[in-house]
Amino acid sequence: MIDDIRVGVLIASSSIKRGNKKTLLFIVFVLSLIFMNLVFLPSMIGGMTVLFTGIMQDYPYGDIVIEPTGDNTYINNADNVLQKVRAVEGVRAATKRLDVGASIEHKQNVVGVTITGVIPTEEYEISQYPYIIKEGDFLGELSRDEIIIGSIISGTSTTFGEIYDDLGETRVGSLVDVTYSNGVKRTYKVKGIMEGNFELVDLNAMVHYKEIEDVYGLDKGKATSVVVRIDEPGTEDEMKAKIREAGVNEQVFTWADKSETLIRQALQSLGAIDVMSKFVGLIVGAALILIIIYINILNRKKEIGILKAVGITPRSIVLSYAFLSMFYVSLGIFAGLILYLSLMFYFQANPVVFYETMEIRPQIDVMLVIQSIVTMLTLSVIAGTLPAWSVSKESILKAIWGR
């Protein structure tokens, strides 16, 4: 067997060293494309998934959101809930929010909005709101007569400008009149304009939590939601259970539970496309690898016959082709990896823009890359072995002289 391997290596290496370099280049090129095909589309789909899920997590729901039970408008003891939640291992941060309906008026323009009362200092740990202020600043601890409005409301959204009503020319420093759903009127100065390029965000407005408490005359500790971020992405369901176990009796949802049907469906169909593209990529890849190696072996039929005729064992011959095709495929994977990574870098720097504003940056899925490499190497052994084996089974005369 050792001799078989040594001879197999000799045959393979001499064929690589002195074989046709153009053929080698072509084979490696095709193999690199096969590899790309296996990993590229899933990376793009991964990027889309991250984009969608990111929005749900970064703005309305966090990783886990706790909402009042039944018909209750408020969680009554939100501070108590917060205390319990924060004590759960694996929870990174939590905050409470108060969502209310209101209309905003500025120079005869009126827009209906949801106003969220937030605790500004806590939001930095919870959401992206503090980081998407495109003009002005986010709310501070003492902001009581100040408001953050979404760019659609302010009329400065470049994306959604035409579709929705807006307040006209609202800028940082403009005064707006807010009429809350209970009829209370307040005047606020616009402290900042936020833009997430997503309706859910840009149609929203935000004031200090205490402001809502005040306007609605709420007792301490009321909230419409408690938003939780966790340490380990992907453990949402376990964390949800842990939070329940910690004695939280309100309704507990993961971001995925809460995601609108549309997005859930989108994610589902993306998942299906992902699986299909991987499957098709694999089948096509396997077929191509087999064909390439098979043609290569057919071209060397005579050589195989000669090797056999002079006493080289069929096993060495089969091994040599397994080595050979492993070498081709390794080079192909290497070239494909370089191609893939350069494309990844390119798209990281120049994301694909979706719906005009959603930037899709492909995600490198290391597991998938490793899987693809292993799959291709395995296929290469099969692709090298099977045809060589079938040719080496042929009679010597037929292999050498064709009859």
Binding site: L10, S14, K308, I312, T313
Partner: protein, 228 residues
């Protein structure tokens, strides 16, 4: 050493059957240098391939040193080809991507010799055919005659019990042919190498001990060469 009995080899079937060998029996003993002669199409290549275990007879018996090789499984035939039988093809049959030395030493490696040892054996063999200085050339860089001499080196390197050569000089000029035949004779005289060579050339007869003549798939002559 070699014994064939009523050997037949038919190609095709039905009305198109070609009876390339139609009942051939002979014996070749150790140390003989035998020439197989005969007109084109008389079955010389066919018998040689069967003797060298490259082809199977349709019927009949073939034994090497008493062992009935005609019914051996392929793995053992392969071992026989590697260790007991040398074969020189009419058309060189070298591996184009290997150097002259590699073409020769791959067999020693197959036999389990170290790379260094194999290389030494290969160089010795190449020296015998006068190509030591061209050991690192690939076949494309050699003339037809040189290629054939590499093929001969490959066949003799393992010092086989029996060596077969199918018109080994078909592509060589007289001078080169003499060189090759001298190598054969040297092997035969000094190492007792058994050689069976197919040839067309009447003047080759002076190198051999015995001439077997074929005609239309049967043996029509078997003569010992007297003065050699």
């Amino acid at each position: 050493m070699i014994k064939v009995k009523n050997l037949k080899r038919y190609y095709g079937s039905g009305s198109t059957t070609v009876k390339a060998l139609n009942g051939v029996s002979f014996e070749i003993n150790k140390g003989e240098f035998v020439a197989i002669m005969g007109a084109s199409g008389s079955g010389k290549t066919t018998i040689l391939r069967i003797l060298a275990l490259l082809d199977d007879a349709t019927s009949g018996e073939y034994t090497i040193r008493g062992l009935k090789v005609s019914s051996l499984p392929e793995a053992e035939r392969s071992y026989y080809r590697l260790t007991q039988v040398g074969y020189v093809f009419q058309d060189y049959a070298l591996i184009n991507e290997m150097t002259a030395a590699e073409n020769v030493y791959i067999l020693s490696m197959m036999e389990g010799k170290s790379k260094k040892e194999s290389y030494k054996v290969a160089l010795e063999a190449l020296e015998k055919v006068g190509l030591k200085d061209k050991h690192d050339r690939i076949p494309d860089e050699l003339s037809g005659g040189e290629k054939q001499r590499v093929a001969i080196a490959r066949a003799i390197a393992k010092k086989p019990d029996i060596m077969f050569a199918d018109e080994p000089c078909a592509n060589l000029d007289t001078r080169n042919s003499e060189q090759v035949l001298d190598v054969f004779k040297d092997l035969n005289d000094n190492y007792g190498q058994t050689i069976v060579m197919v040839t067309h050339e009447p003047w080759h007869v002076k190198y051999v001990d015995r001439v077997i003549t074929f005609k239309d798939g049967v043996m029509v002559g078997d003569e010992w060469v007297e003065d050699r």
